[in-house]
Every structure is written in structure tokens, then in C-alpha cells.
Point group: C2
Chain length 463, copies 2
């Protein structure tokens, strides 16, 4: 163990000045957001939903987009550049004896809100403020995204309204305190504040909720007030764009370590943390420079959108109020079981990731909750840091990749995104330690049922 | 705001190679630990309690003590050197408009267990393992110390047994998960596992406990098993010694910022985080180089050991099983009210800090829980990080120092120790946000009562 190569910081002047827009490099480019009638959503519709600058970035064909100076400064205040670390402890714990197989992780847990989500929250809040908006409304699962947007809005001094999936609101009161501490208004979802929420709330006021329902509520809430906009923490192109700061830093840090990854791994709910780390590397693959690069999205077996979903047009939200996107989906009416990785409970996956998968540039794997959380606990014991349950999926995937390489006697450099810490998610570990956690695999017939739901948008392929 | 001077990291090669032993520099040096009969505890008694190397360090007259290479490596794995940060956000929030008054803080929250406590835990676990011991037993209040010792023991592969004050065990289940995740055995105190615990447990199985009672239980547990030793997270000289790594780093970082503090501030329970930051600076004062340096310990009004305690001989624990120390104390039978800053609920204060206070080199202030937690919340809003309730005391003290300097039109450089994050302490903030937190000031007659208790040790001043 070389003490100078345990954890690499980048000097502040090496913080990226531009985000990477992967779209121009993609073989098949994601189409525009559609209206339910199949027509592309006109700019004025998109601009009624999102901050203007974000809409421009969503459809940009530029390969790089400048990070505003204000955003860069706030990135620094939020502890960017974040360190990249060699997982010596984990390597030893799983029996990797030499330097033949190496595991690295990018530490997005060091941000003030504990995850990568601030990278886009700060940018979106900045653009909203610049446009003269009064506030942003959003949804959140486990609260990583909600906390980050509350943090971002607090920085620029605009209002923040958050609909949080009820199961997470109940399981993770710490993140509610964080959001409220930053001055945000948090409402458990489904709520009776919107029509989309009432549909579920009136049948069951203790409904666990989902990201899909919470998105419907946030979009509906937004459309009632022209002084605010809706903010998304994942899925769409401009969010993935903002997250590339993660991978751009990691790319430089891997150079300092003198390595290039053979495998890049991240957990996927909507896909933003995985994309953020992976896109700067997959660019090399798209350009033919690294044909063997293996990019692996790790999903929960309770919500395997890419692994077992269908590549088709679907609504981004449960109520069908958000635009239609072509993506891997389990059907927008599907409400995932309340697993502890609340941030992965999304029926779809980012169009960028979906197209990259369809074109064969990346792949996905699904795992059950108990082995994933056991890997999280092993990480705590071997690396000292408590991972968020979402992040435990990436860790579990990295361990599987390492063990497989070991079995095959291969050399392998594995890089994964440590997307966030689990200090607010201790309940999941408590249940694991008490033997009370349960596995769940979404049955195939469930998936078919939701994909064949009559509410699915009927859209002809656009040429 | 100069982005290159927001947060200073030290390069890994600048991690201190030696701890600072302040004792040789003190005007009046703390005497040895005493037995209840007033005689110095002979080495064999101390060595039955603590790891041997720690006992040697406790009485060392050397001005510097080498940090073993293994400990330095584990410090690096635990994110040392930690950053020093200029509090631009907080300065603005309290109306400091120019560079006349500056606030800096040392970020001990970045360690894996979230506080400064790992600095001594790693060292003690290393020395215990080196000595061939099977494990360590300790007490913990809020769990910062327990989590750190569990982390340390896990690194070297020895057993860790922890008695935790029941109120914190209940209020902060996250830290219990962390301790158990590292493989430690955690028992709420007072328990029925020891005679010291039974005294309280049998009267009230839901007794909130205190650090003093938990220490008694841990000491008693230790004396039953010769293969283990007792580990202390604060108070004694060798713990303060290990914590000087904090101040030694901060001393170098302040140079990089081009500043030297006028005021050094920290919260005090036993005193280890404050001492860790402050000792390398107060050395300059003891040597006559910085006669005006103001060193301020911040205490809770519910447990103002230095501010309103008596400088006298007292037991380190509630049951009178631990050695007798000369220190500021509220009486060892005093059980502090269950305030949320569990780590500050200790009846005494480190002898080193007590002698420095008695000799006029430092002073203390006491504050109520509500204004302290409001300062913690202001810090969250202005700096983005959620402080532990203990740390909120230091923040509150730093704010008071800044506002006073502003009122007087003085230039002032304020440095405080951000001893730990509050991700596991969200309940305190939840109660604050809900208006359910209560203030409490320990009445003077309570203090007199415990100081006049017949169980206080009767010891003649040693010449």
C-alpha cells in the first residue's frame, strides 16, 4: 500500500471548466421529449416546465458546455473536486491479494448533502435564479436529491418545494431535517395537494409512494404557478450533462494513479450518478479508442428497468403529466416495492443510458436487496465508510466484477461511483443486522402487465 | 472570496510525524492519577487499566512523541490531513462585511466516523494490539467516541465492547448501527451487566445514564478480564496528546492562509477536541510568544464543569472506580440532564485544561441548548454542513466572539474546531424546528450539593 496513492485529490484549479455533452458522440441520439400525441414538445411547453437554460442544454449539439463561474465556485464550496480512492481495504476483504485486480471509487459522499446530486442542483438553482424565477419544485425518493436541491436553492435564495415518496419520508427523517434546515418545504407523497396525489392518497393515506407519483405531483404543482419551474434530479440529458463533472475529474485522477478502467460501474435509478462517472470514459469507447471498456449499470431486482424493461416510449411520471421519452421502462403505472434504496425506485431509465444500452455500448445487472446490503456492510467494515443503500448496489456490482475476474485469472481495473453515504439510511442496516431485511424480485408477469397497460402512450416511431 | 482560499488541504507528506506533549511547557503540571487514599496510582495499577504504551505517554516529559508509521497510514485512510476552511458563508450570515473579522474551522467531520475521535482511537487500538491484548472496553455518550473506537479496533482486529449512555443509545440509533457494523458490542448504560450499572438500572431500567456511569461500567468490566484494557476517549493526558495532530495540521494550514488566530475555540465535554486544536497554539502563549491569544472552551449550561465547577480532586467516574484526578468538576455523583450534546455530559474536565485554566492561560463560557442549536442551524444554512450538537457549541461561541469583536470595532481571527457532523443527531434539529427543544441551566445549589457529597474523595494537597 503506497500511502501517497490511497486517495487522490485534484487541485482546485483542475476543477473542470466545461461539462461533457455526450449526445454528439452517440451512435443513435435520443429524440426530443414528446407530447402524448407523439409530436415533439415545442420549446414553449418545455420552458413552462424547466428553467430556460436547462431546456437549451437538453437539446444542445455542442460537445462541451461551459460551467458558469458562479457554479464552479459553489462546486468548490461543496468540496469539489472530490477525491478518488483506491479500495485497498475492500480488495483485501474479498481476497484480492496482489495488484492484478484493483478497485477504485469516486467519493461523491464528501459533498455537504452527502451525494453527487448537488452537481446538478447547484446548476439548476443558478439558472432558475438567473432567469428571475421565484423557486423550484421537485420530487425526491430517499431524499438525496431533495436535500441537494434544497441546498442549491438556499445558496441562490429561491424557494424550494419538495414532494418526497412517503416511505422514504418515514424511513429517513434525517434527510427531511436537512431539507427543512436548508429552508425547503417537504410534503410526503402521494399527498392531497395535487390531483395526481389524491388518486392514491384518498385510497390509502399511508401509500408508500414512488418517484413516479412524486414527479406527477411536482409537475402538476409547477404548472399552477408561472413564477416557479420544475426541477429534475435525474433521467433527462441536461442533468446527466451536469453530472459529467464527476467523470471528468475521475478521468484526470485515474491518470494520476496511472490506470485506465476496464470496468466502470454505478447504481441506476434514473441514471445520473452512473452516467456522470461513466460518460467521459464511454466517449473513448464511442470514438473507438477503448472498444473493450465494460460499462455496467447496477439495478435492484425489485425495479430492473434496463435489465428487464422494454425500450419504448413512456411517460416520465406515473400520472402521465410529464413528457414522453423513449427509454427502457417497466411501465409508468408500475409502483416499485418499498426497498431501502429509495433512489433506485424509478420505472424508467435515462434516455441517454437507454440508447447506449440499445446500441450495445453498456449493459446492466440486477441484484437482490439482502446481498447488496451485505456488500454495503462489508464496505463499512473494510473501507470504514457507510454507503447509501443505492451506493451499496454499485459496491456489490464492483465486488462481483472483481470476483469474476479473479476466477478467470484476469487483470482488471474496476472503477465505481460511491454516489453517497448512508448516514441517514441506518435503518436499512439495522434491519439487515437484525435479520429483518427481505429480498424481492419483480416477477416477469408484473412487468408485462404494466407494459400492456392501456395508459401506455401509443406512439409511432418517428423517422 | 478567493476560491483558492476557501478550503486548504495539506499534502499527505505534511501529516505530522510527532504528537505534541504540552505538559513540559505548562506552568503548573498536572499531578499523577491518584488512588482514593491520595497516593499516586502505581504503574501496575494504571497498566491493569490502560494499554501500557498509553500509560507511558500519560506520564511522559518528552515535548514530542513519535506517531507510529502504522497509525500515520491509518490516519491517511481516515482522511487526514483534514481540511481547514474559511467560513465565508457564516461570516456573511452574521453580517461580517469585510476581512476585518475572519472565522476559520478545522473539519474533523470528514473522518469516516464523522468526528475527531478516531485520532486517539486508532492509536489506542494499535497499542493494544501491539501489546497482545484481545480487546478494548469503553463508554460513549453520543456515540462519536464509541464509533471511533469500534472503527479503530476493527482496523487492527481486536474486540470492542461499548457501554453507551442510554439516552444517546435511544436518540442516536444511527451511531449504534455504525458501532455494530464495525463489529463492536454495544450495551445501553446503566445496564445490569455490572455492579456500577445495577445501582441505577434496578431503580430505573430506563435511566438516561451519563458518561460518568458508563465509565464506571467500562472500568469494572475491564478489571474482570486481564486480556482486555479500558480505553478512554477524552480527559487524560495521552488522549489529548493524540488529538494534537488536529492543531498541528491547523497550525500549518493557518500559515498557508497567512493568518494566526486571536481566538481559538472548541466545545468541551472531557476536553479532547478543544485541546487537540488549541494545544499547539497555546504552546506559543506558554512560551511568551503570543501573550494575547484567547483560548475559549464552550460548555453547555446544563453541565458547566470548567465555568462553574470546582478545581479539586475527584473521581473520573460516577461510581468511584476510576482513578482520582485534580480537575474542574461538578462532583462525580452529578448526572447531567439529557441534553442533545451527549458528548458534553461529563462532570469533570481534562486535568491539562483544568491547570491551564487555573493558571490563567484559557477560559470558558457556558450557553443554553436552544441558542446553541439555532447557531447549528444557521451554520447548516450558511456553510451547508450539519454540525453535531456538541460542535454547535463551538460554532455558537465563535459567533459570539465575532459579534463582540464587531461591536468593539476590533480586527479578529477566530479559529474553531468543527469536531463532528450531526448526520446522526438530526433528532435534536427536528425538535428545534418543531419548537420542542428546552433550555436548562444547572442551578448553583445543585453544584454545591454534589461537591459537598460525602463520596467526594478526601485528599490532602500533595506537595
Amino acid at each position: 500500500m503506497d500511502v501517497n496513492k490511497i486517495q487522490i485529490y485534484l487541485p482546485i484549479e483542475k476543477l473542470p471548466k466545461k461539462w461533457l455533452n455526450i449526445v454528439p458522440f452517440m451512435k443513435t441520439k435520443p429524440g426530443p421529449m414528446l407530447l402524448p400525441n407523439g409530436k415533439p414538445a415545442p420549446p414553449e411547453v418545455a420552458m413552462a416546465v424547466f428553467p430556460q437554460e436547462c431546456v437549451m442544454q437538453e437539446v444542445s449539439g455542442e460537445p462541451e458546455i461551459e460551467i458558469p463561474q458562479f457554479v464552479r465556485e459553489r462546486y468548490i464550496l461543496a468540496n469539489r473536486p472530490t477525491p478518488l480512492r483506491r479500495a485497498y481495504g475492500l480488495e483485501k476483504a474479498i481476497g484480492l491479494e496482489d495488484d492484478k485486480i484493483k478497485i477504485y471509487y469516486k467519493r461523491e459522499d464528501v459533498s455537504p448533502t452527502g451525494s453527487h446530486k448537488g452537481n446538478t442542483a447547484i446548476a439548476q438553482a443558478y439558472y432558475a435564479k438567473k432567469q428571475g424565477l421565484k423557486g423550484l419544485v421537485t420530487e425526491t425518493g430517499a431524499g438525496q436529491w431533495g436535500a441537494a436541491l434544497a441546498y442549491g436553492c438556499n445558496i441562490v435564495g429561491i424557494k424550494c418545494k419538495i414532494f418526497q415518496a412517503r416511505i422514504s419520508y418515514q424511513q429517513k427523517p434525517g434527510r427531511v431535517v436537512l431539507m427543512e434546515g436548508y429552508g425547503a418545504e417537504v410534503t410526503p407523497s402521494p399527498s392531497n395537494e395535487t390531483e395526481s396525489g389524491k388518486e392514491y392518497y384518498e385510497k390509502d393515506p399511508n401509500h408508500p409512494g414512488s418517484l413516479g407519483i412524486a414527479i406527477s405531483e411536482a409537475v402538476e404543482y409547477n404548472l399552477k404557478d408561472p413564477t416557479i419551474r420544475y426541477s429534475l434530479g435525474s433521467v433527462v440529458n441536461f442533468v446527466l450533462l451536469h453530472q459529467t463533472v464527476v467523470g471528468l475529474e475521475a478521468y484526470e485522477q485515474m491518470k494520476i494513479f496511472g490506470d485506465y478502467p476496464d470496468v466502470v460501474i454505478g447504481c441506476v435509478g434514473g441514471g445520473s450518478n452512473f452516467a456522470g462517472l461513466m460518460l467521459p470514459f464511454i466517449k473513448d469507447k464511442l470514438e473507438g479508442k477503448k472498444p473493450n471498456l465494460d460499462c455496467v449499470a447496477i439495478e435492484p431486482a425489485a425495479c430492473p428497468s434496463i435489465t428487464r424493461g422494454k425500450f419504448t416510449y413512456d411517460y416520465g411520471d406515473t400520472a402521465g403529466r410529464a413528457p414522453v421519452l423513449k427509454m427502457y421502462t417497466l411501465g409508468h403505472k408500475f409502483v416499485p416495492k418499498p426497498i431501502h434504496a429509495g433512489g433506485l425506485r424509478y420505472h424508467g431509465a435515462a434516455p441517454i443510458l437507454s440508447y447506449l444500452t440499445k446500441d450495445g455500448f453498456m449493459r446492466s445487472e440486477e441484484y437482490q436487496q439482502i446481498p447488496v446490503m451485505q456488500s454495503g456492510l462489508l464496505f463499512l467494515k473494510s473501507e470504514g465508510i457507510l454507503p447509501a443503500p443505492e451506493t451499496a448496489h454499485a459496491i456489490h456490482g464492483a465486488i462481483q466484477a472483481a470476483l469474476k475476474a479473479k476466477e478467470n485469472g484476469e487483470k482488471k481495473v474496476i472503477l465505481f461511483n460511491f454516489s453517497g453515504h448512508g448516514y441517514f439510511d441506518y435503518l436499512a442496516y439495522k434491519l439487515l443486522l437484525e435479520g429483518k431485511l427481505e429480498n424481492y424480485t419483480l416477477p416477469q408477469e408484473e412487468i408485462e402487465k404494466y407494459l400492456n397497460d392501456p395508459h401506455m402512450p401509443k406512439i409511432q416511431e418517428v423517422a
